[in-house]
């Protein structure tokens, strides 16, 4: 199989965007069969999903986490080693909400990311950019009573990957989220405003609706920047999917 060029992939991205516009139906999530992202080819089901309408379904409840599942330092990715990591220090904060706008309380938020050079602390990341002995790029925390989370980290770098020739991922932070029901489970990626790589990236562009895509991009917010310390970004997250009941206690 010949390796596609960026031009090939960009053409496919444009075709899928056009088809999505013509369909006139807003889809919030990426289609699982999105060929411009080549790894999806053999890894998406071809049969339609089966809709479960059972009000007693176990998935309408979900796992819980607590203070024992995090440490105080977990939310500060710049303080997990003896020294300070290299890069641009940032704070990322926002709220986790359900589709009715209710805060998701006391739930686990996990993040992971590349370092400032665009290298993951992962053995299989072969990008010849330097590892940073003072940065692992893993964090977690629990949302507060208003659904708020907050991380201190460094801005990740862009990095190359092998989807096609000269493929580069825009800088992003991976987020893993739990709601009050297992149906609301979400793993996604947060991007930084104004990144010139957006248009070239089939993973971001797999979200074909421009407004939905925008919801993956954090906002720079000057009031969140800490003088002489860090730049601030806000990113709110809305979880999809139904839940059995709204449980006030313990969530």
């Amino acid at each position: 199989m010949t390796i596609p060029t960026q031009q090939d992939i960009s053409l496919e991205i444009a075709e899928r965007a056009g088809a999505s516009r013509d369909a006139g139906q807003t889809t919030h999530h990426p289609a699982r069969d999105y060929a411009p992202y080549r790894s999806s080819l053999l890894r998406h089901p071809k049969q339609p999903l089966v809709n479960v309408q059972d009000p007693e379904a176990v998935e309408l409840s979900g796992p819980v986490f607590g203070l024992a599942d995090v440490t105080a330092l977990d939310a500060d990715l710049t303080r997990q080693h003896v020294g300070e990591p290299l890069g641009e220090r940032i704070t990322v904060t926002g709220r986790v909400l359900d589709r009715d706008g209710r805060p998701v309380r006391g739930q686990l938020v996990e993040i992971w990311q590349a370092n400032a050079s665009g290298r993951y602390a992962h053995q299989r990341d072969q990008h010849p950019a330097p590892l940073d002995p003072h940065f692992s790029g893993v964090g977690r925390g629990l949302t507060d009573d208003e659904g708020r989370y907050r991380f201190t980290t460094i801005k990740p770098g862009a990095y190359p990957w092998r989807n096609h020739t000269n493929a580069w991922r825009p800088a992003h932070i991976h987020f893993s989220l739990f709601g009050s029901a297992f149906t609301q489970r979400l793993i996604t990626q947060m991007y930084f405003p104004g990144d010139p790589l957006f248009a070239y990236d089939p993973i971001l562009q797999s979200v074909t609706d421009p407004a939905a895509r925008n919801r993956l991009v954090a906002a720079y917010e000057h009031d969140l920047s800490v003088p002489e310390w860090s730049l601030g970004y806000r990113w709110d997250i809305v979880l999809d999917g139904p839940a059995a009941t709204w449980i006030e206690e313990g969530r």
Partner: protein, 185 residues
């Protein structure tokens, strides 16, 4: 409010999401009743998926769906992991596949329903997939989901007994034996 779109878990979650004893959902001291579920995650060519992540959610043996915290207890002194406390049944597990696409976990039988809920993540999968592992030994017609499925599709959701209290369940992301995947709206 409009939802935040999903994005793939990618290939590099391995140092962030899996945790020690992620697949040890059964607390210690339940050896007689614990069950083991294992299998492989396979792609449309029948090749193993070495970078998939499976999450399990289930009721406790008494049918409770409250869950409990403590699945990934952290060591507040070193910042490492303490492991589960050996007593609490949290109902939640998380396991990554190995280079052969294999996974396994050990748990207690779910109370009130014949299934374990599963969420599948993988590189190449832009949006996670839900499925269920049904444990054999019940009437499929009595289950609201299975009753609606053709026998051939239905069988992709039912684990096969492999040994005493050991069950085999393969996840086929695509292909002839493609697993039934679920949505909740």
């Amino acid at each position: 409010m409009l939802p935040t779109p999903s994005q793939t878990v990618g290939p590099f979650y391995g140092y962030a999401l899996p945790f020690p004893q992620g697949g040890e959902i059964a607390p210690a001291g339940h050896d007689a009743s614990a069950i083991t579920v294992h299998g492989r995650v396979l792609d449309g060519a029948g090749d193993p998926v070495p970078d998939a992540l499976l999450e399990i959610w289930q009721p406790a043996p008494d049918g409770s769906r409250e869950g409990a915290s403590g699945s990934l207890r952290r060591d507040q002194t070193t910042g490492g992991y303490l492991g589960r406390d050996g007593v609490t049944f949290t109902g939640f597990g998380r396991v990554a596949t190995d280079p052969d696409g294999r996974y396994s976990f050990r748990t207690l039988p779910p109370g009130g329903v014949p299934y374990l809920s599963v969420c599948v993540f993988a590189r190449g999968l832009l949006h996670h997939l839900f499925t269920r592992i049904y444990l054999p030994g019940f009437d499929p017609e009595s289950d609201p989901l299975l009753a609606t499925l053709e026998p051939e599709r239905r069988s992709t959701l039912i684990a096969e007994p492999a040994a005493e209290r050991v069950y085999r369940f393969d996840v086929h992301l695509q292909g002839e034996r493609e697993t039934v995947f679920l949505e909740f709206r």
